[in-house]
């Protein structure tokens, strides 16, 4: 891949851009890991938050509150530096970054999803119960499909938040866009203007994030209008 860029852009810029794009792949992988992992935990927490059990609800709210109040930077420091020194063992930066971002994502995703379920009109539940259905069938056949409409747009929108969040992982030694960018800024490649790196990095992130936030807003307009969805969005 490097050769292609070098032949198009000339030597220094071609190499750097190729490096940046390679690092961008790691950003994307990390985003996907965090999104899937966070989605899995988030689904469990969201389920706990909408059950009738008060203990489960309190625990779920506590979980969401905790991981929304803790700065992502601190989660990364704790998992990337704190825990390894506590147990006296090195933790792979992939693992630490994935776990931190997964926890971060799970809190926000579970809130979005629980919010979507609560956003479905109360009458829908009552109608289901009036038909003689139990809690679970009502949830899965009546509420969930409607909640899905409300949840899709903010879920897509939150992907942007995760992508931006991955930029912090470099502080614990994760080799992503930021690492390359900082290295280039600190020790400029001969024949390049070092300040170009920042707009370039911003542009790459923008290209990753903007289509998603655009999509999210479109979906919101298309899907949310039906029930007059709650317009609050996290982040």
């Amino acid at each position: 891949m490097t050769d292609a860029f070098v032949s198009i852009l000339g030597k220094p810029y071609g190499i750097v851009l190729a490096q940046l794009l390679t690092a961008t792949q790691y950003t994307i992988y990390l985003t996907l890991i965090a999104f899937l992992g966070g989605g899995l935990i988030g689904a469990v927490v969201a389920t706990a938050k909408i059950t009738t059990s008060r203990t489960a609800r309190t625990l779920a709210s506590g979980y969401i509150w905790l991981f929304q109040s803790v700065p992502l930077l601190m989660l990364l420091f704790l998992l990337g530096l704190g825990v390894p020194r506590l147990i006296g063992m090195n933790i792979n930066s992939w693992l630490a970054a994935s776990v931190a971002l997964t926890l971060y994502a799970s809190a926000y995703l579970s809130e979005v999803w629980a919010g979507a379920v609560n956003g479905v009109a109360k009458g829908q539940w009552e109608a289901g119960f009036a038909l003689g259905l139990r809690f679970r069938p009502v949830l899965w056949t009546i509420i969930a499909p409607q909640a899905l409409r409300l949840a899709i747009a903010p879920t897509v929108g939150f992907m942007v938040q995760i992508i931006k969040g991955t930029s912090l992982a470099y502080i614990i030694g994760f080799h992503d866009l930021m690492t390359i960018g900082r290295r280039w800024a600190n020790a400029p490649v001969p024949g390049t203007e070092p300040f170009v790196i920042f707009p370039l990095m911003a542009l790459i992130y923008f290209c990753l994030c903007f289509p998603l936030s655009k999509l999210s807003r479109r979906l919101e307009r298309r899907l949310g209008a039906v029930h007059g969805a709650d317009k609050t969005a996290a982040g």
């Binding site: 530096l81 506590l86 942007v160 707009p199």
Partner: protein, 211 residues
């Protein structure tokens, strides 16, 4: 410990500056879009989208290292940090404010027009206060969220809370304890901001309760 408290004070000051100036900028940006001012409105759209879709840390490096290199000036680090945070906050606030402005009921505008209010006065006295009141809770939570991200400015060597923590960590190597304390401090400050802002809300928008 003293260093941590100083750092916390710095973080709070930085977030407050960013919040206040960012809000003022956001009013400009959102107003430009509300009135569809030619050029300014388009610039506002591009600016808000760009800031909201790039990580704060990239913006910080751009402001702290990129711009000075390009334009050849040198500011103290805290000024770079304050500028980056202000720009970042303003875009998020502008987006929320815009939503608030466009949510004001048509009847309010028609009513004020019927009373013969000129456009600017109508905006200042009728639309704007209601819009801010409507979105104040969102602004609050956005501010808290943004406050939690300010630790990033430690990366350019500003003596904020995170930086103080990193310093202690590098001296003691008791990372787990240091970052746990740091986390707790961030959470406590965030809760403090929340309380202050909700008090502010009750004072500023007392008229809302009577509706």
């Amino acid at each position: 410990m003293l260093r941590l408290i100083e750092g916390a004070g710095f973080s709070i000051a930085l977030a407050t500056i960013g919040g206040i100036i960012g809000f003022i900028l956001a009013v400009g940006l959102a107003s430009a879009r509300y009135f569809a001012v030619p050029v300014a409105a388009q610039v506002a759209v591009v600016y808000v989208e760009f800031v909201r879709n790039t990580p704060l840390i990239v913006q910080l490096f751009f402001v702290a290292f990129g711009l000075p290199m390009l334009l050849g000036y040198a500011w103290p680090f805290w000024a770079h940090a304050a500028l980056a945070l202000t720009l970042n906050f303003s875009a998020y606030f502008a987006e929320i404010l815009r939503a608030g402005l466009f949510s004001i009921a048509k009847g309010q505008i028609e009513g004020a027009r019927a009373l013969g209010l000129p456009t600017l006065l109508l905006y200042r006295k009728v639309i704007f206060p209601q819009a801010v009141a409507a979105v104040f809770p969102s602004l609050n939570s956005q501010f808290i969220f943004l406050f939690l991200t300010t630790g990033i400015v430690a990366e350019i060597g500003v003596p904020d809370l995170t930086n103080a923590g990193l310093y202690i960590d590098s001296r003691t190597f008791r990372s787990f304890e240091v970052f746990t304390v740091l986390t707790i401090m961030y959470v406590v400050i965030a809760v403090g901001f929340k309380v202050v802002l909700s008090l502010l809300q009750r004072r500023l928008f007392a008229w809302q309760a009577s509706r």
